[in-house]
Subunit: 187 residues, 2 copies
DNA sequence: CCTGCTTTTTATCATTTGTAAAAAAATGTC
DNA sequence: GACATTTTTTTACAAATGATAAAAAGCAGG
């Protein structure tokens, strides 16, 4: 997915402001399995997923809880690093080989203070992440495991083919065994 | 809680910008039980809780799921209204008599486009809500019901005295009966 | 201080979900 | 195509949670 499209989907920027941002963006490629964001470390870059799939998870004892799955166009960030310059809870790893756009947070922060359009772009960026996060949270509260799986199925049928069911189960808040049972019942 | 403090906790504004916002803010009082945000309706104001407690919930069949409890200083908004001018999932009602600051979203939006400091304030506002929402979401994923209750207990001991346990149970993702069992076991 | 109403706890039973281990299926590599 | 590895499903049993109903406790208004 093209960078211009990603930037503009968040907030329509004047050409000059968009070019200002793009001057600081570079492209990087990482292989499947690479951990791009490390929990408990401050991450100094923001990424946008050009292609591929990633997942965010939190370690909990000897297991991991997957709480976000991102695909092409999605921002890949350590929220707490981005917002507070503090270590975050989440690790993010790549479920496929991925190409990402990246920009140093330092550069972005500077642009926020220089250009009101970019400041409003940053506002819209946070707002759209906020909406998505709230939606995800409410969705996870609502309904039984079966309903949540059905919802996932209808909203992200593509992910079902590309993401191991163990991660999807964790995302839905159940065990892989439980998810397997649900899938068997529905069929 | 004073409006200046609430505004500045989000982002330190120059005096002039802060006065610009305050010119549009008024104070309102509502009684316990009043529903201030209605699900599936577009809400055209943003509120900040000067005093009291509120809860956000989503209707689900014949029951309600409480997914947020806000106390003094907290912003009270319909996310989807604020961000997208669209009806939201959540209703918010008052658990105590409350005093709130309020500003029309229309006025705030205009200020965002006029004043870069206010634009960045708006960015920080969304970002801080984002962090809190993510934290809440992850926290709800993590651990058993007992652990989640213990976490709630240590993070918001005051709310335990002021919020009916039924709402807290729903917030933790369990039934009131389950919560009661947990409380009995811990003692 | 009593009365009625709401909230919380307790008890019982049915159901769901988790754990652990093994079998089956799918995937990738040589 | 055969092997090793990973992923998914299945099974059996244990533990946790939900539903329902009833008792107990707490609280507000007169």
């Amino acid at each position: 997915m093209d960078l211009d499209i990603i930037l503009n989907q968040i907030y329509a920027l004047p050409r000059a402001s968009r070019e200002l941002i793009k001057a600081y963006v570079t492209e990087v490629v990482y292989p499947k399995g690479h951990i791009i964001i490390h929990a408990n470390k401050v991450e100094r870059h923001v990424y946008f997923l050009k292609s591929g799939i990633v997942r965010a998870y939190a370690d909990h004892g000897d297991s991991q809880i997957t709480f976000w799955i991102g695909s092409e166009g999605a921002p890949v960030i350590s929220m707490n690093s981005y917002v507070n310059n503090r270590p975050g809870y989440e690790s993010i790893d790549l479920l496929e080989n991925c190409t990402l756009y990246t920009i140093a947070m330092q550069d972005l922060q500077r642009l926020f203070l220089q250009d009101i359009h970019i400041a409003n772009w940053g506002r819209k960026f946070a707002e759209s992440e906020l909406i998505k996060t709230e939606e995800r949270m409410i969705s996870r509260h609502l309904g039984t495991a079966v309903e949540r799986y059905r919802r996932f199925l209808s909203q992200s049928p593509d992910l079902l083919q590309r993401v191991p069911l163990g991660y999807i189960a964790s995302y839905l808040g159940i065990t892989q065994v439980s998810l397997s049972r649900i899938r068997a019942e529905i069929r």
